[in-house]
Symmetry: C2
Subunit: 687 residues, 2 copies
């Protein structure tokens, strides 16, 4: 560690009004009830749980974050594994529920090598394993006696699961399967927890029976020795190397050279091979698989709100502390807070609104999902024949909505974090801002669980199908068919939008979806345009659909008696402003009579947006406070609750940065590179 | 290093058509003359120089790149310094020109701790030093006997240079200055080459004379001992810590505690203090400073083309090799090349067009700058009194244009690189894609040399001033006033745009600038709206202005006889397609009569864009080949010239990744973390 700062440096303070004073003023300017809003967002129990968990974690040196931003990959992996182990031990010691374990992980805020074991490995065994397989694999996995991962993606195939190349061939003679990687591109790739941690894997491979492929199926396979942790014979496994982020996770590769595995390896709750007859047992309806993906995507929607809120919290607090230039018209005293510039408000506050919008939408999605699961559970997971259409139709709706929302909300969150980082000016580029690493770790979300562009094709397919049903007069009755029917009934005439009337704004977003859907339908069905030529239109359509759902669910939440009774009128009023800001930010006038009318509406949109920015501005700091991120979780010099950003930046640079205890020899002729401070000798580089 | 792959792994090949075959097919599909286009872009001399330099660099193990993506910060700094030293030695040995030195640096493609010495430190001494100061500071600096940096930005002040807090107070009694950092926020911050390398700095400080501040002035100051490299007394200096990118540069901090420096420290070519009388000598006109900034920004415009082209090269080649899903309508055999999807073309090909557009625009800017410098040089750097207005007016034009273009082109390049990374799908997230680190290193460009949002205010100020001059009938005669005059003359009537007529497209972009300028003028001058309320409009206006300049200069290049005579008609035809694609991508119909007319134009724009994407698609690989990036420079598994992307990804992961020679102990109860492979003992973590 570097030596302490000299006394004269320790005596220095930032100039002008202190950050702590500025944030105090910000909080004094608004009377938003932060505690009430926070309890509404997360419940009091969850907030108390967060404090309790924080205390436990901070008591263990392994979770100390002060060196997080300085570690190279190997050291970071070592620490991440140590943390994963400690979290597991604490989980047993304190009898944490799954929710508590995840909340603790959120506070640590980095992926760990146990990540895929604790989620996809256990979940897949649970959902797709038979009782015998539960006993043999799931139970030791739950006790961490075996560590696993979920190996689906391959070097040559990601999105296209049917294209997977790994094969599992049934050998009737000895009732085994042979796992094999026929090509280099068959190598499993990107598999979390596989690179260094796992000794087992669920491997998704093409099931080959009598020379015929029956499509991808999941197999549990041991891949490393349980004692030496070396790869088993004819298995090649390792870490795929560093990534843009997520470097505390050991994403791995895995190849098989004709490896025999027993019959029990094929997870057989839904399909399998009868070991005696060698006959294939067909899978049950894909409805349940649909369900899992829908659940994962719905959670991504809810998470996208808080992921984005972290960046918005940091940027909002820092922009209230940072002052730069006097106002051009001479307003105010001294330099202006950066948050007072409309250019900054225009970038930041719609994202603040989006973080709330996604929270409400994610909640609504999960409620819908849970309601449907409960209904399905009553039917024992299989729709009764007379209810089959309704059941799978609701699932299809949920599936399409979750695809559209996942793509839109995760893209908005990822790109929004980068906007937040830049809104912090030069210091946003410092790792100490805490935004860059968070952004880099979040980025894979735009590609995984369905690439955000790929997903939009599924949404378009659903909307086209709904439109065809409306035209043929046989729609399922749900919200989107009502929107499409109204469009047909009113002959495509756009709604009369009044920017101060929330209902007309929701209608405008609905109209836009219908308009784009019928345009796409005409292109496809009437003009017979190739699917490939419509992909850009589909992407725009899916985005419009997602925006409509967000706007609608946010609006409905504001009408909801449960919401109204939990929040005081001032908070409701402010949430309504956020609704309008989000809505106007994503709205563009589509329906109008003349050029003059359009221009008029654009001018009104501009004026109203500016006015909303002004309305939200005084409450911005309290609105981010309500997200209740502990400083320890944010780990940001710029986003500190107390506003002491310059002191923190300086402390981290001069006192925690290990680079400051080495000394350079700066001259070109010298081969000496570094001298550890205080030592007399110098060491020569090998270079 | 990890052990070699087993034989059965070494025998594996990727499935299906090989990447090398696919890229050969791509190159066979187009007859674009890559060599001719490359020579036109860079000149044959420069391309030969590149090959020569590449050979020299590759002969030195210090430049070996195979471990670049695995190093932690300290090790990366050590290697970067070793490389900087070797580059300097090679530069002396081979008598490289400044251009050759920079070209070699470009091939190495990472910032080094000599970066700010070799650029801003030498340049500032050269331009602002007196002959005596040249002898005392510049000459030893050129011989690398002293190493320096340029210390302007402070912890509390970046963009607002007048707000800098560091003071340099003149002491008449002993003819010295006292440098002092009165607050923590006065600490110099972000200063490249300062953290570990520099022993001197040009420090920009408020000059205080008789208790009065005369604004920021540059002082040369020794900060570290020339032998021990320890900070001099009452100076506190160090590295500011890790950043989102640029981690091979030692950005530093610097504080002074009443440090006395001699009179000669104030760089005095343009202003100074008479040591005998203690009187201030006023600076010459700021025209020359303007000039330097304009030059730097013009270079950023040119660079943005090649910066973006690197990402486009990698993504285009990889998207031609990567195949995923069959065409939805069953077209083609097997899976489609990802580059055939219109959704991918729509994201990638307009960026390919932008890389060319920025190249032409940057070239035109530098030509304008050079022509003006030559004209000014004839006048000995100072405009003659009767030419003063014309001279400074041209500089003001260049200044505004360079601000607008810098903001637009660097934002487009930075965001474009991220689009390229995502277009590579999952593998784009691997560090081995070569895009992520390049993007992260480039990002500061959107904030430095004028924050891209801040700059747009200067552009708007210039356009408002031009519009006022046009209205008052006293414009300087230049392109933009002609555009504004035409708008006034034609009473704001928009041009009749034909999408297949390039001239009408250029006119449409010009019209848009004029329309937004007069709208802003009305808001400001007639309606007296606060400056702060107009910042978003100004940003849009500046962007529209930059787009107009790019479209215009690209169009003019296509008419230029020099260009036409250097390239065959097929290449000219393809460049014209790129012009149209860039233009249509940034165009939106602004001027129309009715809603139906607007809708019609949008439909035409959609159709034409699709058709242009189809026209450019077959030539995409050859168009990126013409940028002539050596594989060694790209250092990308995905962007290899020969298309062997899967082999390269696999090789890097399994054979160069140092994480694969450690073994985890995966069980939670064990405190053992790593065992170096092959060793019997295990070491216990301190954690």
């Amino acid at each position: 560690m570097p030596p302490p700062n000299p006394d004269w440096v320790q005596a220095l303070k930032p100039s002008g009004p202190q950050g702590s004073e500025l944030l105090q003023q910000e909080r004094a300017k608004s009377s938003l009830n932060v505690e009430q809003l926070a309890e509404f967002l997360f419940t009091r129990e969850n907030l108390e749980r967060q404090s309790r968990l924080l205390e436990i974690l901070q008591a263990h040196p392994v979770f100390d974050k002060t060196q997080n931003y300085f570690r190279g990959r190997r050291e970071a992996m070592e620490v991440a594994l140590a943390r994963a182990k400690k979290l597991q031990q604490l989980s047993v010691e304190h009898k944490w529920s799954q929710d508590e374990y995840e909340a603790a992980n959120d506070l640590v805020s980095e992926p760990t090598p146990y990540g895929l074991h604790a989620s996809m490995f256990l979940k897949t065994l649970q959902e797709q394993g038979s009782p015998e397989q539960h006993k043999r694999f799931l139970e030791p996995a739950q006790r961490y006696e075996i560590i696993g991962c979920y190996a689906q993606t391959e070097l040559g195939h990601g999105s296209n699961v049917r294209g997977l190349e790994t094969t599992a061939t049934w050998n009737p003679e000895d009732k085994t399967f042979t796992l094999h990687s026929p090509h280099l591109t068959a190598s499993k790739w990107w598999i979390g927890s596989l690179g260094l941690a796992a000794n087992h894997a669920v491997v998704v491979a093409q099931l080959i029976l009598n020379g015929k492929s029956l499509g991808p199926h999941p197999f549990v396979v041991q891949i490393r020795d349980l004692k030496t942790h070396q790869a088993l014979p004819n298995i090649h496994v390792g870490d795929i190397g560093p990534k843009f982020g997520y470097n505390t996770m050991d994403n791995g590769f895995l190849l098989f050279n004709h490896v025999k595995i027993p019959h029990i390896s094929l997870l057989s709750r839904f399909s399998g091979i009868d070991p005696d007859t060698g006959k294939y047992i067909k899978p049950a309806s894909p409805v349940l698989v649909y369900g899992t993906l829908t659940f994962i995507r719905s959670r991504i929607v809810l998470q996208s709100g808080s992921v984005l809120a972290r960046g918005v919290t940091i940027a909002t607090r820092y922009c209230a502390v940072r002052r730069q230039f006097r106002d051009a018209d001479g307003a105010g005293e001294g330099e202006s807070q950066v948050l007072d510039y409309t250019m900054v408000q225009y970038r930041l506050l719609p994202l603040l609104a989006a973080s709330y919008a996604f929270h409400f939408t994610g909640r609504a999605m999960l409620e819908l999902y849970n309601a449907n699961q409960a209904r399905m559970a009553k039917q024992d997971g299989r729709p009764k024949s007379n209810e089959k259409d309704a059941g799978s139709s609701i699932l299809a709706d949920l599936h399409a909505i979750s695809c559209a929302l996942k793509a839109f909300s995760s893209t908005t969150a990822a790109e929004g974090l980068e906007v937040c980082r830049r809104a912090c000016g030069g210091h946003g580029y410092s790792t100490f801002s805490g935004i860059g690493s968070w952004y880099a770790d979040y980025l894979p979300t735009v590609t995984w669980e369905g690439d955000n562009y790929m997903l939009t094709q599924q949404v378009a397919r659903y909307l086209l199908k709904s439109a065809r049903a409306v035209i043929s007069g046989k729609p399922s009755y749900n919200d989107i068919t009502r929107v499409l029917e109204r469009f047909v009934r009113e002959k495509g005439k756009g709604p009369a939008v009044a920017l101060d009337n929330n209902q007309t704004l929701v209608d405008a977003f609905a109209w836009r979806v219908a308009s784009l859907t019928f345009e796409a339908l005409k292109n496809r069905d009437e003009d017979k345009q190739p699917w490939n030529s419509l992909l850009v239109d589909f992407w725009k359509l899916s985005t419009a659909f997602a925006q409509y759902i967000v706007v609608k669910t946010f609006y409905e939440a504001l009408q909801d008696q449960k919401v109204i009774s939990s929040l005081d009128p001032e908070t409701m009023h402010l949430l309504s402003k956020l609704f309008q800001l989000f809505t106007l930010h994503h709205w563009s006038p589509d329906s109008y009579g003349s050029a003059a009318e359009l221009h008029q509406m654009q001018a009104e949109q501009r004026k109203r947006t500016l006015s909303l920015l002004g309305d939200v501005r005084p409450h911005a700091v309290r609105l981010v406070d309500a997200w209740k991120f502990p400083d320890w979780q944010l780990d940001s010099a710029l986003g500190r609750y107390d506003g002491k950003v310059y002191e923190d930046l300086f402390h981290r640079a001069s006192q925690t940065n290990p680079l400051n205890d080495v000394v350079f020899d700066p001259y070109p002729a010298s081969p000496v590179l570094f001298r550890p401070e205080g030592k007399q000798g110098a060491y020569r580089s090998k270079l």
